[in-house]
């Protein structure tokens, strides 16, 4: 055995992969060659030292819970990928027929009933936070806005969000709603927060930005009439689409804009009744 062959075997020898025959040939070579021997011994020592200091760390329990929550939030928010429905149709079970019947029923209903889009939330992207809220709500329902943190614990969400956005987010613990999570985003150079709640099958989306930035109107802005309304009454409501309400209000120095498929009194009550 020459040095080139021996050096090839050094690593498998360290990891215990060599059978006895090859192993003893290698040892023979080491007797004659201190350079190869020290190469082997040093690699063995390195492995030992490394293992000694680098133990396996179990994944934190909180992380496991967050991943689980995120997965359910992702599915519940309606992000059912297309392929799944396809796969489904090709399975010749009762479901195939039920699905087909369901699809036909839906199609018939769409044809028969004058079509009124339930969530036509597309608005211009212009820094007007009302438009942004409508747009984002559409994205949340489609499942494209996925929480950066998923947690039902407002304190946890706040401690994640606040340093990221650089202002104090408003994340109340609500009596009739479950917190899903939040994420940080920015519009141009302004940080904004998305907070998502659920109430049974309803998604409540809460958009937040620094009040001062909205009032200054450089990047984020509001129409003057809306600003006046907020200054006068403390809040502003809009009911532009069937069944859904948008509500603007301020909490300390944070501007909040909530939107959900529910009536105005329900939405007000939703945020009013904290625990």
């Amino acid at each position: 055995m020459d040095c080139r062959e021996a050096l090839e075997l050094v690593t498998p020898a360290v990891d215990g992969y060599l059978d006895c025959g090859v192993e003893s040939q290698l040892q023979e070579h080491f007797e004659k060659c201190p350079a190869c021997r020290s190469e082997f011994e040093l690699e063995r020592i390195t492995k030992r030292v490394f293992k000694l200091h680098m133990s396996r760390v179990p994944a934190p329990q909180a992380l496991a819970e967050r991943v689980r929550a995120q997965l359910s939030a992702g599915t519940l928010a309606g992000s059912v990928p297309q392929f799944e429905i396809k796969k489904f149709l090709f399975q010749p079970t009762w479901r195939t027929f039920a699905t087909a019947a369901g699809a036909i029923a839906v199609l018939l209903l769409i044809v028969l009933i004058p079509y009124k889009p339930q969530h036509s939330h597309a608005r211009p992207i212009d820094g007007n936070i009302i438009n942004q809220t409508y747009n984002n709500f559409g994205e949340v329902l489609k499942g494209t806005i996925v929480p950066g943190i998923s947690s039902e614990d407002p304190a946890q969400v706040k401690s994640y969000m606040d340093p990221k956005v650089g202002f104090r987010t408003h994340v109340p613990l609500l009596k009739h709603g479950r917190l899903v999570g939040g994420m940080q985003a920015h519009y141009n150079d302004e940080n904004v927060a998305h907070i998502i709640y659920r109430q049974n099958d309803n998604v409540i989306y809460l958009y937040q930005a620094r009040l001062q930035s909205v009032m200054d109107g450089h990047t984020l802005r509001l129409p003057d009439s809306v600003k006046r309304e907020i200054l006068r009454t403390g809040s502003y409501f809009e009911r532009q689409c069937a069944g859904c309400t948008l509500m603007l209000w301020t909490v300390d120095s944070t501007m909040c804009c909530a939107i959900a498929d529910m009536g105005q009194p329900e939405l007000v009550a939703f945020f009013k009744e904290t625990e």
């Binding site: 690699e43 390195t46 490394f50 680098m54 396996r56 991943v67 997965l71 799944e84 029923a105």
Partner: protein
């Protein structure tokens, strides 16, 4: 009034997929977390990386071939996420003297042949942090095989599957990775004054 038959059915499918995914993929969180932790060098980034990996894996769950090595599949998703997000140019440090430690070793080897004694003499004073830092200096390809072999205890075959390379590549990367590692460790040990060969 729309009768929500269709959503109900897709919900059942979603639930099935969800259950399957939880059963198959989530039990491997420890190996992913460890790899993420050693790769990024900090728990927060590791958390983010694990979350991102699972969300992607869930999204592409139909692409996973049932019965194949799920750990390797998840691992590859994580590796790609890591590359997209954190790729830093890590090159082999070129100012390091690879022979320094060999020379030192040969000197102390002459005094004592007991491997434990030698190990103690060279690396005895190192802290966990030193080793973690040394690992971080390794270029990613080398770091990966060292982590998988020496922390996770995977076989060469498994590692080859994980990184999608022949076994020969695994072996040579391990060899070079450990060589870089020991050079770095020796450097730290000297800096802290644990080793005095000067």
């Amino acid at each position: 009034m729309l009768i929500p038959i269709f959503p109900l059915l897709t919900k059942t499918a979603t639930r099935e997929k969800h259950g399957e995914f939880e059963r198959e993929a989530l039990p491997h969180m420890d190996i992913l977390y460890n790899y993420a932790l050693r790769l990024t060098g900090n728990p927060d980034d590791a958390d983010d990386l694990v979350q991102e990996t699972y969300l992607k894996a869930y999204r592409f769950w139909d692409k996973y071939e049932k019965g194949t090595n799920i750990r390797a599949w998840l691992f590859r998703i994580m590796k790609n996420s890591y590359i997209n997000r954190y790729r830093k140019e890590t090159r082999e440090p070129d100012t390091v003297d690879y022979n320094d430690i060999q020379n030192f070793y040969n000197i102390i080897r002459a005094e004592s042949a007991d491997p434990n004694d030698l190990q103690e003499k060279i690396f005895g004073g190192l802290l966990d942090d030193d080793v973690a830092r040394a690992l971080e200096t390794l270029p990613e390809d080398f770091r990966t095989v060292v982590i998988l072999c020496d922390i996770e205890g995977l076989t060469y075959e498994e590692i080859a599957e994980f990184i999608d390379c022949p076994i020969g590549t695994v072996r040579s990367r391990l060899h070079r990775g450990r060589k870089m590692l020991r050079t770095k460790l020796f450097e730290y040990a000297k800096k802290r004054g644990y080793v005095t060969n000067e």
